[in-house]
């Protein structure tokens, strides 16, 4: 029990703290004896097995159902393409418009095409002739 404390509002000169009463544990404090619970009927095995089977089946169905879900639609996010850099402008040389240069260009194209063509004349394949008469063989 806490000592009484008088407040200033009561009377300041009459505050005398009283010593706390020593705690005495209650006597004969004992845990009540455990009373045996009344005998409960045991759960049958088949019920436990049925519960397990039921739970397992539900779990399998859930897993299969979740796998059969349609694939989520992937929305393509359009990424902005970078702006291509402009083609550099090249200054034509003094040769570019000369007739000799243009003739050279034409000659190169002409000879390149000629060299790409087939080289052997197919009309020159030698004839295939039988050299032996084989009159003695049957």
């Amino acid at each position: 029990m806490l000592p009484a404390i008088r407040t200033n509002m009561d009377n300041e000169s009459s505050f005398i703290p009283t010593p706390p009463t020593p705690y005495e544990p209650p006597k004969n404090l004992e845990w009540p004896a455990a009373t045996p619970s009344p005998s409960q009927p045991r759960t049958p095995v088949w019920a436990i097995a049925a519960t397990v089977v039921l739970v397992g089946t539900l779990a399998i169905i859930f897993v299969v159902a979740s796998q059969r879900k349609p694939a989520p639609i992937v929305t393509e996010v359009a990424s902005p393409t970078p702006t291509p850099s402009p083609t550099p402008v090249r200054t034509p040389s003094i040769l570019a418009t000369q007739s000799a240069f243009l003739n050279l260009q034409a000659s190169v194209s002409s000879l390149s095409a000629l060299l790409d063509a087939a080289d052997q004349d197919s009309t020159l394949t030698p004839p295939v002739v039988d050299l032996k008469l084989d009159l003695g063989k049957q």
Binding site: V108, P127, L133
Partner: protein, 269 residues
């Protein structure tokens, strides 16, 4: 009046008969003749094989005589066919612009020699009196055929060399033109650009040198195309054809470098 008729009549005759066209034998005409002879040979050869089969089957005098007649026909036609082919090669040599006169004469001498052999061989055919004679006469061509075939292949290589020579001549003209053009307008390019153009010119010149080395190798190898059988000749011929393809490839690569040079020279930078 008589004089005019005397001059005009032969001309009219020539125009009507088309004889003037036959005087200049072109390779196109020679090719048509060769194809005609080839068709005849195939026909006579097929007839001979039928007659030979019947002779083997019946062994009668009648079948023997028939086989002998067909053998004589096919032997004669075989010689005519080979002669027509050699004449075709001869016309091709005449028309080839890439070969020199000396080179043409060398191969034409080979052809003339073989044509002479065939003409002599065909003269033996009327004297064939038995199947053994036919075998003997046929054997003479069989023995000589490897030499004849080698002459054919050598001439074919020569014709390919002539075509390449024409291409090489154009190549040289283009290279000379490009060199002069670059040299004349050199000052219009920056130093770095000049170096680029010089490198391309050098590459083009190098390819020409490689081509020439290959041609020298081919010319030497062509004279060695010989053998004891057509198969042996063909294996040597195949190697020479491979070298011809490589020589052509050098020219092609040179032209691609020339194209790069043209592209580089078109712009200032």
């Amino acid at each position: 009046m008589r004089r005019v008729l005397f001059i005009l009549l032969p001309l009219v005759f020539l125009l009507l008969t088309g004889l003037w066209r036959r005087v200049a034998a072109t390779s196109a005409q020679a090719y048509k003749d060769y194809l005609f002879q080839y068709d005849l040979y195939r026909q006579y050869n097929a007839d001979f094989k039928v007659a030979r089969t019947e002779y083997f089957k019946f062994q009668s005098l009648l079948s023997q005589n028939a086989a002998l007649e067909k053998a004589k026909t096919v032997l004669g036609q075989r010689d005519e066919l080979l002669r027509a082919y050699l004449l075709l090669l001869n016309e091709k040599l005449n028309e080839d612009p890439g070969l020199s006169t000396v080179e043409k004469q060398l191969y034409q001498r080979l052809i003339t020699s073989e044509i002479t052999f065939l003409q002599n061989h065909i003269l033996l055919i009327p004297s064939i009196g038995s199947l053994d004679d036919a075998e003997s006469v046929s054997g003479q061509l069989t023995t000589h055929y490897a030499i004849l075939y080698a002459s054919m292949r050598q001439t074919m290589v020569a014709l390919s060399l002539g075509q390449l020579a024409m291409s090489a001549k154009q190549y040289e003209q283009i290279l000379t033109g490009a060199t002069n053009l670059i040299r004349t307008n050199r000052s219009g390019f920056a130093a770095q650009k000049q170096a680029v153009l010089d490198r391309w010119l050098l590459s083009v010149t190098d390819k020409k040198s490689l081509y020439q080395q290959k041609i020298d190798t081919i010319t030497k190898a062509n004279s060695l195309i010989k053998g004891s059988s057509p198969e042996e000749v063909d294996s040597l011929y195949a190697k020479v054809r491979k070298d011809l393809a490589e020589a052509k490839q050098y020219l092609g690569e040179g032209m691609s470098y020339m194209q790069e040079l043209v592209n580089a020279a078109r712009y200032q930078d």
